[in-house]
Structures are given as C-alpha cells and as structure tokens.
C-alpha cells in the first residue's frame, strides 16, 4: 500500500441515508485455505455422518437467518436465504460430495471446499450480474457449512470489535444480516445497487451506506480515515482537516434534523391551521405493521397480500391467510389495516395461476381480472379477510378496477363469501369497509359514480401515471415520458378527491408520490385525507405537514394545476419546500 494519503473523493449509489465519519475496517470473506487430509478407509462412514450432520445444522442456521431477515428486512432479503436453503437441498450435489469423500478418501471439509470452488469459479466467470451475485451466495453457504463442520457454530467471523466504517467488495448476506449497529457506523462497498441485500439490510438497520462505488476496498487499509455521505453517495478517503470539520457540521445538522423528527414522531400530522391528515404505512408482511407504529403511522393503507403467493409454490389456504391478516390487524389495532386483494399478473406470477405469455402484461390479465376469473381463490381470500374483520379493524380493497363491472362483480363475490361464512357460523363484520384502488384513468374519470358503491378510494399513483401517460414504467427507453406530475395526472387526482368529498368517500393515496416530501404540500392541497407510504418516510412527511397551513397547501395545489409540464410542477414544488426547509439535501435527492 502506498504512503499516499491525500484526500480522494469517490462516488457510489447512496443506499441508506446519514453521514458517517470514522476509520476503515476492511471486511473480507472468511475463506481459509483448506488443505486435504487423507482418511483411512475405516474413517469414511464417520466422515459421511459428520458431513450429513453439518448439512442439517447449517440448514437450521439458514432457516433462522431467513426468519430474522423477514423480520428486519422483508421478503426480498428473506428470499436470498430461501435460495441458500435450495442449495443445501440439492441431493444430486450432496451425493456428489458424499461420493467424492468415499472415492477420494479426503476429509469432508476439503471436498466441500473444493466442490464449491469449482462452482464458484464457473459462475464468477459468467456474464450477467445475476449469476455473479450467486457466487457470493455460494461462498456464504460454504463458509457456514465449513464452520459447522469444524464445530465453530454459526458465529460470523471477522466482525469489528470497535466502532468502524465497514469497507468491503460486498458483504455476504449472512455478514450483512449480522451487522452490529453499535459498532458499524457506516458501510461502503464496491458492488451492489439500491436493491442489493446489503442496501436493504443497511436501510432497515439505519446504517449510512453507499454501494456500487467501483473500487473502494482496494484503495483503503484498516485504520484509514474515511467519510461517507449516505445522502449524496460521496465517499471521502483520507479527508483533510477542513473536510473533516465540514462533514462534522453536516453530520450535526443531519442529526439535528433526525432529532426534530424524533420529537414530533408521535404527534398528529396536523397543519398549522388544524387540518389533520392521516399518515399510514404500506406493508407486505404482517410484522411490518410494527414499523408503521414505530414511525408514528396510524394505520396500514396498503397491505400487499401478493406476498402470500410469491413466496411459495402452492396457493395459501383460508386459515393460513386468516392468520396473516389477523396478525397484521392485531399489531395495528385499533388502527385500520387495508388489505388489497392479490395483485398478480403484470410482472408478478405464481405457479398455481396460469397466466399465458402476453404481449402487454400490464394491460392484460392481472389483479382483479385474475381474481374474478379464479373465483375459487378469490373467495378463499375474501373469507379470510372477512374473518379477520370480526376481530380487528380490517378493510378490503380491490386493485385494478376500471369501472362498475369489476366493482359490482367483486361485491357480489364478497356477498357470497359472507353467506358462506354465515352458513359455517363464522363471525365477520357485516359492515366491513370496501374500497378500490384508483389506478386506471377510466376509474378516476367516473370516480363520482363509483363513489356511490364503495366506501373508500386509494389512488395508486405508480400505475395511474403509467396508464395516463401510456408509458411502461419498467421500460428505460421511455423513462423520460413517465411523468408523475403530468397535468393530466394531477387533474385525475383532483377529480377523484372531489368525487370522494361529494359522496363522503374517504380518499387516500398509496403510491410512491404519497411518500415524496416534495409532493406532500400538493397532495394535502388537493384535498387528500390520507397518505400511505413506506413507514420510514412518515416522520419527514409529518414534519412538512406540521410546518404548513392547509391554505398554503391549497395555494400550492392551485398553482401547480395551472402549470404546463411535469418538469415545471416538480421544480416549483421543490422550490416551495426549499424555501421552508433549507439545508436538508436529502429531501431533494
């Protein structure tokens, strides 16, 4: 390593906000050289037994990791460990390992190390990010397996014992899952994106993190000074005293802002002139309702029930679903939980539901359309939701409704589900509130009519934008046309709110716009009564609402509605926010 310790600035993807200043701890994969040990033929049966036991122990350890991952980080990270379990369930591979131990008469550690090494070698050389990431997974599984084999148990080695900023090529899922918040003040990695397991876990643990820096791990040694700004993505190696002072100030300001949010977290989201807005959370696992509570949310505005299908091959039973809905309602009680019936199709598939290859899946067989053609599954879900409504504050919401046809048909199925429960003498709330997602322009246009037949609307802005401006939101080639603040979109939101107000139908929003600080004054000004978002955004949005008057918000909305382009609206909204909350760059990233 050179003695050159001049300040150097690198950039990466800001994956978890906050500023960290500290010293480097490089984390490397624990990959010891495993040397072969020759076995006597008489030792082989014992060695095979040792191998099988280590598989069993590792499997249990991974299952525990999966459960913990689901707990702290959600389905995406849980799936990583599910994949690890699949590797350990590969009987063909395990048999090969057993065969090699018997034939080659080497110890299990060496054969495991070597068998995985061949796989890792081939996969690391392959094209395509998704396969190279698998090499990380294989190393992770191998490390755990070797540790159990040596009787070291499932302690993750190479963890810092003092306060540090971790620098690594990448963290293995197990390493990331076992980070100690008390010691690790920041993370910087060479690889990864916003959805990498490191990023997801770091966010859930509130550790400032930058990923995808390219080469940071090769440029530092243990003990080097480093600053990372998780708000901007900037990494400063060997900071000068000036930079040190500058970032200490920045960190203080940011912490001050965090404390401010902490102070108001459990206050109501009420404007200076007294209009109260409900701030709710979007969840996909029941236990995420705890996070909604912890962030000061007073309800779940969107419970995505698809996860019940996406994490398994078979369709979930009524009892299984009931337990999940009941759990969410119990955690959130007495506040409401809005359960959206499963939104499959589009880009979400399930092995138990046959969806043909479609030219335009987002205009195709998805969401309520799937439910209405698979009434068997639909009714199972509605019965489960109804049963939960007898015990908690539960509401049901139908996605992807384009008009009366789907709404009335769905209501009819709901009615049948109620009758079936009556026959079975199972309790439910006969007056459970029923709502629809407003995410198709036709539904927004006739919202005044639809309002006569349901209790609430929730505007799904992601899809509403996609369909209003006819732009596939996953198609990068036309990303510039995906305009969230398009005047057409704003008018549809306004129409929906007005229609709701006229009929006493509660109107909320549960798309990404709902959790966007810049959009908050606009949405409040348009008259929305509830904003539902990722739980972690609730305090910031609350702070904004509590700092403004409803009158001001209405003025902002009126002005925005007169503008010609999405771009104009966006810069206007940012400007308005900047005027009031200067110096908080994270809000404008």
């Amino acid at each position: 390593m050179s003695a050159d310790k001049r300040e150097q600035i690198l950039r990466g993807i800001p994956a978890s906000p906050g500023i960290a200043i500290g010293i480097v701890h490089r984390m490397v994969y624990d990959e010891p050289e495993v040397l072969p040990r020759k076995l006597a033929p008489s030792e082989i049966p014992q060695e095979l037994g040792r191998f099988d036991r280590s598989i069993e122990e590792t499997r249990h350890a991974i299952e525990r990791s999966r459960d913990r991952a689901l707990d702290v980080a959600g389905v995406a990270v849980g799936k990583i460990f599910d994949a690890h379990l699949l590797i350990l369930a590969d009987e063909v591979f395990l048999d090969q390992v057993r065969g090699r131990i018997t034939r080659e008469q080497f110890d299990a550690e060496y054969i495991i190390f070597d068998s995985f090494a061949q796989m890792i070698e081939v996969i690391s050389r392959s094209q395509g990010e998704v396969f190279r990431e698998r090499a990380t997974d294989l190393r992770d599984v191998r490390t755990r397996l070797l540790r159990f084999l040596r009787g070291d148990g499932d302690i993750i080695p190479d963890h810092p014992t003092h306060q540090v900023i971790l620098v690594a090529e990448d963290l293995s899922p197990t390493q990331a899952l076992n980070l100690d918040r008390e010691l690790v003040h920041g993370i910087a990695t060479d690889v990864g994106g916003l959805t990498s397991h490191t990023a997801i876990l770091a966010r859930s643990m509130d550790i400032p993190t930058i990923v995808g820096i390219g080469d940071v791990s090769g440029k530092v040694q243990d003990g080097d000074s480093i600053i990372i700004n998780g708000n901007s993505g900037k990494v400063i190696l060997h900071p000068t005293p000036d930079s040190q002072v500058e970032y200490e100030e920045k960190r203080e300001r940011y912490r001050g802002f965090q404390r401010l949010l902490e102070d108001i977290k459990f206050q109501p989201a009420v404007t200076l002139d007294g209009r109260e807005i409900k701030l709710w959370g979007n969840i996909e696992l029941p236990r995420e309702a705890e996070s909604v509570h912890a962030h000061g949310g007073t309800g779940v505005g969107l419970f995505r029930s698809e996860f019940l299908f996406l994490t398994r091959e078979t369709t979930p039973t009524e009892d299984e679903q009931f337990e999940v809905y009941d759990k969410a309602a119990e955690i959130m009680a007495p506040h409401p939980v809005v359960i959206r019936t499963f939104d499959l199709g589009g880009d979400k598939y399930h092995a138990g539901i046959n969806i043909r290859d479609e030219k335009n899946p987002f205009l195709g067989y998805r969401a309520i359309r799937v439910s209405l053609s698979r009434r068997d599954l639909f009714k199972v879900q509605l019965r489960a939701i109804l049963r939960a409504s007898a015990r908690g504050n539960v509401r049901v919401m139908f996605p992807f409704v384009s008009g009366f046809e789907e709404l009335r048909e769905s209501l009819a199925v709901l009615q049948e589900a109620k009758q079936e429960l009556n026959q079975r003498k199972l309790a439910h709330d006969p007056n459970m509130l029923v709502g629809i997602m407003v995410e198709i322009p036709s539904a927004a246009i006739i919202a005044d009519r639809l309002a006569e037949e349901c209790d609430f609307f929730s505007i799904g802005t992601n899809d509403l934008v996609q369909y209003t401006v006819a732009t596939d939101r996953a198609n990068e080639q036309v990303a510039a046309y995906y305009r969230s603040y398009h005047p057409g979109v704003l008018r549809l939101i306004e129409m929906t709110v007005k229609a709701g107000a006229k009929h006493g139908v509660h109107v909320g929003i549960c798309g990404e716009l709902g959790g966007s600080p810049a959009a908050a004054p606009l949405l409040v000004g348009l008259g929305l009564e509830e904003l539902s978002m990722t739980a972690s955004m609730i305090p910031e949005i609350k702070k904004i609402i509590r700092s403004m008057t409803y009158e001001e918000c209405k003025r902002i909305a009126r002005k925005a509605l007169k503008m010609d382009t999405s771009q104009e609206v966006q810069s206007f909204l940012r400007g308005e926010l900047k005027k009031r909350f200067a110096d908080l760059p994270i809000w404008f990233s």
């Binding site: 994949a83 699949l86 590797i87 369930a89 590969d90 009987e91 063909v92 591979f93 796989m119 081939v122 996969i123 392959s126 094209q127 395509g128 998704v130 396969f131 698998r134 997974d137 091959e313 880009d347 598939y349 399930h350 092995a351 969806i355 043909r356 290859d357």
Partner: protein, 88 residues
C-alpha cells in the same frame, strides 16, 4: 432417449429461482434428465448443476431425457421454458 432444443426467454436467464423450478419438476420424474450447453452437460435434477450453466436470456440449450416417462418430463419442461418460468 429424447433430445429437444429450447431457448431461454425469461429476462434474468436460468438463475436460482428458475433453476429451482426446473429441478423441482425434473425430480418428480423417474427419468434422468440432462441440460447441455456449450459443451457442458449437467444433471437437470441438481440446482447447483443447472446454475453452473449460467445460461442467460437468449441462450439455447438442449434438454435430454432418458427413462420411461421421458416424454412427459420433456413436455412439462418445455412448457416451463415457453412460459418464461412464469417470471416476467
């Protein structure tokens, strides 16, 4: 023995979840099944083997099945490929 050529149409290729679906189906049958690509020949009942092909979108593979129920096995696998592993 039957051999059949297939093309991978799903966006992410034969990564871990599609590989899991494939091996799960393969394991239901008595027949042996192999996947051939670029001179590699792996056991279709092994997720590690299938992943090792690192088959990306657009690549062509040969499915080979040997055994009594080879035809049903191949038919079900082809359906999986045609449906893009129900992924995207």
């Amino acid at each position: 023995m039957i051999q059949k050529e297939v093309t991978l149409l799903n966006r992410l290729g034969l990564h871990i979840r599609p590989a899991a679906q494939l091996t799960k189906i393969a394991s239901k049958y008595q027949a042996d099944v192999y996947l051939l690509k670029d001179g590699m020949r792996v056991n279709g009942k092994s997720i590690m083997g299938v992943m090792m092909l690192a088959a990306a979108r657009g690549s062509t593979l040969v499915l080979e099945a040997i055994g009594d129920d080879e035809q049903q096995l191949i038919d079900e696998l082809i359906k999986l490929f045609e449906n893009k592993f129900y992924e995207d």
